[in-house]
């Protein structure tokens, strides 16, 4: 629901609101950039504002015997990453706006996985309790929420028992908060790599999206157990869950990527993140249902993309009330944020090694 595709679809259709159409235009630009790279990749001379473009060899260069040999050698060593052997990769100064080379990011998808694996393994090495830690946090958190919000403050969650309601929200929140933190540190934390090897820099923040999913998967066991205990069965709405989770990852990426990019130059970000995330928790429907916010305020409230994310996930898993038109606000806000983050990232990406 809050997924990238849906939101850009929604945005393209949105006719009213200058801001929205601006964003739609922006998405179009970004997408055009991707298309262009694909075209260039297929061997034609490309646009002029991408800094790593693939072009044909300079005029006069004819495929020689050695070229053919190199092509042959290349085909022997299968599974190679990177451009075609006969195309030039250029490294020229970034001028103005610059499209992300998503094709190249795709070529490096294995590295995303390896970086994620490294972080996961390193996290649980020499930890006797191991993955059990992924259960402790949600259990303790939800117990505290139940006492404070349900028993003391009397927050009501309708038909769904509060503890299940809070658990679903809190697991989502744990993913977003831990992933935003990890993503924010992903560029600075990989500085030794960034200054010593080339890879599309987007790989590092993308890798930071993965470990949280493992914790989430482990924590979901608790949800399944509790739902069985209370006799709650999911229905067809569960099919929308992957889309909701995609939205959740997009939300974490949008905020994390923006902070990570700023963090490369200004380390203050790392220090402010913890504090901001605490405030953000209070402004998200984690321990309470979002319908607690009423009147005109709910539109302001929905600007927080996590509102849309958690509402959709609860709707999908627990069959709570379907999110209303606020979801469009959440999705739009997420799309704008993600677009700005990607644009800022693309513009500064090439200078990371010098600044970090």
């Amino acid at each position: 629901m809050t997924s990238l595709l849906t939101s850009s679809f929604l945005l393209r259709r949105a006719s009213a609101g200058a801001a929205r159409s601006l964003v739609a235009k922006g998405w179009g630009e970004l997408m055009t950039g991707i298309d262009r790279i694909r075209v260039i990749g297929s061997g034609r001379r490309g646009g002029s504002d991408t800094s790593e473009k693939l072009t044909m060899p300079p005029s006069g260069a004819v495929a020689s015997e050695s070229d053919r040999r190199s092509r042959h050698r290349r085909s022997e060593t299968t599974g190679l990453r990177g451009p075609e052997p006969d195309s030039w990769i250029e490294n020229a100064p970034t001028k103005g706006r610059r499209a992300l080379n998503l094709r190249e990011v795709w070529a490096y998808r294995e590295l995303v996985f390896f970086l994620a694996q490294r972080d996961l393994k390193a996290r649980y090495k020499q930890a006797a309790f191991g993955v059990g830690w992924a259960l402790v946090q949600p259990i303790v958190g939800v117990v505290v929420f139940t006492i404070v919000f349900n028993r003391l403050a009397g927050v009501s969650t309708g038909d769904v028992p509060y503890i299940v309601f809070a658990l679903v929200g809190f697991l989502t929140w744990l993913y977003i908060s831990s992933t935003v933190t990890a993503t924010t540190e992903s560029l600075v934390g990989n500085a030794p790599l960034i200054t010593k090897v080339y890879f599309p820099r987007l790989v590092a923040p993308l890798g930071a999206l993965v470990p949280g999913m493992v914790d989430l998967a482990v924590g979901s066991g608790l949800v399944v157990g509790l739902m069985a205990y209370y006799g709650l069965a999911p229905d067809a709405r569960l099919l929308a869950l992957p889309l909701c989770l995609l939205g959740m990852m997009a939300a974490a990426l949008a905020v994390g990527l923006l902070l990570a990019t700023i963090n490369v130059r200004y380390r203050d970000v790392g220090k402010a993140t913890g504090f901001l995330i605490q405030l953000w928790l209070l402004g998200s429907p984690v321990a309470y249902p979002s319908n607690l916010v009423t009147g005109e305020w709910r539109w302001v409230y929905a600007v927080n993309p996590v509102v849309g994310v958690i509402d959709s996930i609860r709707w999908s898993v627990l069959a709570t009330e379907a999110p209303g038109p606020e979801l469009i606000v959440s999705a739009a806000s997420l799309a704008i944020l993600l677009f700005l983050a990607l644009r800022y990232f693309a513009r500064t990406e090439r200078s990371f090694a010098d600044v970090i």
């Binding site: 050695s66 990453r81 250029e90 020229a92 090495k125 010593k196 090897v197 080339y198 090694a353 010098d354």
Partner: protein
Amino acid sequence: MAAAIELDRVSKRYTLGEFRGGGDAVRDVISASVRRMVRIERAPQPREHWALRDVSVTAEQGETIGIIGRNGAGKTTLLKIVTRITEPTSGVSRTRGRVGALLEVGTGFHPELTGRENVYLNGAVLGMSRREIERNFEEIVEFAGVARFLDTPVKRYSSGMYLRLAFAVAAHLQAEIMAVDEVLAVGDLEFQRKCLNKMDSLEEEGRTVMFVTHNLDAVARLCRTSIWLDGGKVAAYGPTKEVMRAYLTSGAARSHERAFAGEAGLPASLELVRILDASGAPATVLPRDEPFVIEVQFVLHEPVPTLDFAVFLHDLRGLRVLEEAWSETAPAERGAPGRYVARIEIPALLAVGEYVTGVWLGSVYQTLAFETDILRFRLQGDSHGRNDRIVQLGLPWDVSRANVSD
């Protein structure tokens, strides 16, 4: 041959100041701009440093190019631009084929992970696919010689094992273009030899290599073409022999003589020490297989009976490989006042390498001057890969076949 690397008037500027050295916080930036706004302070002239200036280089496919120059000459920056780690400030760098960056060994190694896990991680970081790593895994492990410790976290490895494993992964990277920075300066001798052999085979395999090092012997051995960078500019570019000669005779590397002010009140003072090659010209790099001369000039202000002086040579490990004193062969009557020029010829017996010379001047009773580390010089030549010896005599062997069958 087609070109594999093309650098077209590449320049790289680093801005120093405002964003450097601890001033990296928003607070500093804000306070600086506020101060500027209220005219307390003018905008600081951004301190700039051109790490590279108009560098144009073309490497043919399969060529190994050596990059030499002093520290800070822009050698590593050049590699970083070729590998796309950083972008140039102006100019264009083009590469054809996959580029592997070996700017340090073990990039991305994580101490908590096992050797096996790190091979995969490091391989992926260098740009290898999982399949490629799997295919080379056995060979990598064998090359590194750490098979027994594959499932041990690398934080428990000795530094030698760690480096061997890291280099082994890098050495199996099958990129068409390799940018190599000083990685040969690691590991034990046997391993260094292995690495050099590996480098040799890179060229045979048709890889294009850009190779930065201070090890001039390695450049001479591996590279037909070289670039000498000086202050970010190309000082010489062409056949290695010529570039090397230009570099070594430029005086950029070492100084070939040292003058002394002399201490007042002592009966003698040291004036000048220099090193002369076989033809009598001052030099800091000498052919290993020719004798050379150490010249010491000193003044005796008053008679110094039992005058003595000595020169000695240290290698860079600090081992005193040679010490010769005049008294061992000197006449009994000696030490009259005056200016002296003493020369000693060292025959061609020392091994290839860097040496530091020192001088002692005195008498049986006292030390009048004692200077260590006066001059550093290099004996250049073929070490035949045996870099651990002190003397290299090239003594003839007498070899005959026993039990010749009929």
